[in-house]
């Protein structure tokens, strides 16, 4: 049962990735051009998910929005990973006063509720960043604000593992052989914790996707005419009572994506005992 669900989720994620990357190029409609003659059509053969109030094909828009949602999920967790790895690596490697100060700062940041921090940071970044293109600006501010509030737990785990690995005989041997600090860190410490860290990082991807949809839904993330799953849900929300398919399909895809991520990661976590 677990294995079956794991395979199913993996297949879904694979198809989703393929469709969001190549779909918008392969499809006849881009999901951006409006068409007065096909407004608010229900789901059917010609339009798989139906069309929205401007006559745009919803299936194409879900794929187009998926690109942005997935990019925010991946880039956001990658950024958090890099910051967490460096911060935790430095803390664990140096020990003593530096370690204590760095970790105390980490605790202080962790005590601030991340939801508030993300929204306030995202709003201010959107207003402060000097990019002309609105899409670049909102993408960067989303990724940065999500990463800035989610690297702390990764830093703590990294620090713990660095402390543990440092005491192992093979690191002592490398030091005795005259290996430099950076050599030991990259060649001996890093490979031994990379597996665990990568799974922890991957666990942030579904969270980030949810954050993106939340931010776009409340009007802080991506702005129309660009689209993401959050924007699609926001548009569907306005017509919930009369045209529920407009909110059903985007939010269903959002749910299935997050669910698949969780199933895959849970399976891996149990398998590798993390």
């Amino acid at each position: 049962m677990r294995k079956f669900l794991f395979a199913l989720a993996l297949v879904f994620l694979g198809i989703l990735l393929f469709a969001t990357v190549f779909g918008p190029w392969l499809m006849a409609t881009s999901g951006l051009e409006q068409n007065v003659e096909s407004i608010l059509l229900p789901a059917g053969n010609e339009h798989l998910f139906g069309t929205d109030s401007l006559g745009r094909d919803l299936f194409a828009r879900v794929l187009l929005g998926g690109r942005i949602s997935l990019v925010v999920g991946l880039v956001g967790s990658l950024m958090a990973f890099i910051v967490g790895l460096c911060y935790g690596g430095i803390a664990g490697w140096s020990e003593g006063v530096v370690d204590r100060m760095l970790m105390r700062f980490c605790d202080i940041l962790m005590a601030i509720p991340s939801f508030i921090l993300v929204s306030v940071l995202c709003l201010s970044l959107q207003l402060l960043l000097p990019f002309e293109d609105p899409l670049t600006r909102s993408l960067i501010s989303l990724c940065v604000s999500i990463a800035a509030t989610h690297w702390m737990s990764l830093a703590r785990v990294t620090r713990g593992m660095v402390l543990e690995i440092k005491r192992k005989p093979f690191v002592e041997a490398a030091i005795a052989l005259g290996g430099s600090r950076s050599h030991i860190f990259v060649k001996h410490v890093l490979p031994n914790m990379l597996g665990t860290l990568l799974i922890l990082v991957a666990m942030q991807i579904p969270t980030n996707i949810l954050y993106e949809s939340f931010m776009s839904f409340i009007g802080l993330g991506i702005h129309p005419p660009y689209t993401s799953w959050g924007i699609l849900v926001r548009e569907g929300w306005k017509t919930l009572s009369s045209f529920p398919h407009l909110i059903l399909f985007p939010s269903l895809v959002l749910f299935l994506t997050v669910w698949s991520f969780h199933i895959v990661l849970d399976y891996l976590r149990v398998k590798f005992k993390i």
Binding site: M1, R2, L5, R104, D107, I108, L109, A111, I112, P113, S114, F115, I116, S119, V120, L123, S124, L127, L128, P206, L210, S213, F214, F217, I218, G219, L220, G230, V233, G236, W237, L240, S241, P244, I247, L248, S251, L252, L254, F255, V258, W259, F261, H262, I263, D266
Partner: protein, 310 residues
Amino acid sequence: MSDTGFRFVLKKLFEMLASLVVLAALTFFLLKALPGGPFDEDTALNPLVKEKLSEHWGVQKSALGQVGSYLFAVAQGDLGISMAKPDRTVAEIIAQGVRNTLVLNGIALLCILSGAFIVAIAAVRFRGTWIEAFVDQMVIAFLSLPSLFWGPLLIYFFGFYWNLLPVAFLSSPAHYVLPVLTLSLRPLASLIRLLKNSLNENFQQDYVRTAKAKGIGVWGILIQHVLKNSLVPFLSYVGPLIVSLLSGSFLVEVLFAVPGLGTEFISALNDRDYTLIVGLTLFYGSLLIVVNSVIDVLLRVADPRLKEQA
């Protein structure tokens, strides 16, 4: 309380104050830096409001003096005047919304706690059967259930399709059903997972074998012995649980048009009502920071084993 205990409380107190100062400084920096903020030259703000604000925050003083007077004012609970609604103070707006938010979250918290205990104990009682596997899979599914999907789905079916329950505002007990359901599901799933792991771990301890040998039934062992020992990880999760509830409450309040703090916060973000944003950020932040610190201290009092570790 022992010496280490006293030092622990001091440490927590320091951490709490430091978090609050970081939060306040950050919000002050944002107030100053944002274009269109209250102290921006080009702000199209009602001159009366602007004058009141600048008098309020001491704009004429030096930068350090400004931070000082800002922190002093905030420490007194004075959060200034709303920029979007100049006739009301931020403190008034918070006082108005806080009741709805707290009642909604309180009910959700009670539902989550009772639900999680029942499901987790049942799942551990029927270990290795299909019930446990089912609970495991449901937990993962619920954990991934975004309220953006689940909320509108509930609203559509219960509110419009079957026309069973009201879907907006909080004017009668029936109004609470859907928002509480939307709000509780994800935190409930994570609490079930945590409790279940903790119960399972304790179930393999030696004292369980002793109790079994004495002839106590499985239910008795679970409830009398194992549950008591599994409470510590549960207690330490109450803080994060409250944080995740209040965070989820933002979206739920918007979806169900609850006149609470979450709705105020989101409309403040969209109106660029900086003073209200800062006020709510500080309010939420200090509430959660204080709650978490108090729970940490209580936990040390409740479990002597934690004291020895330090």
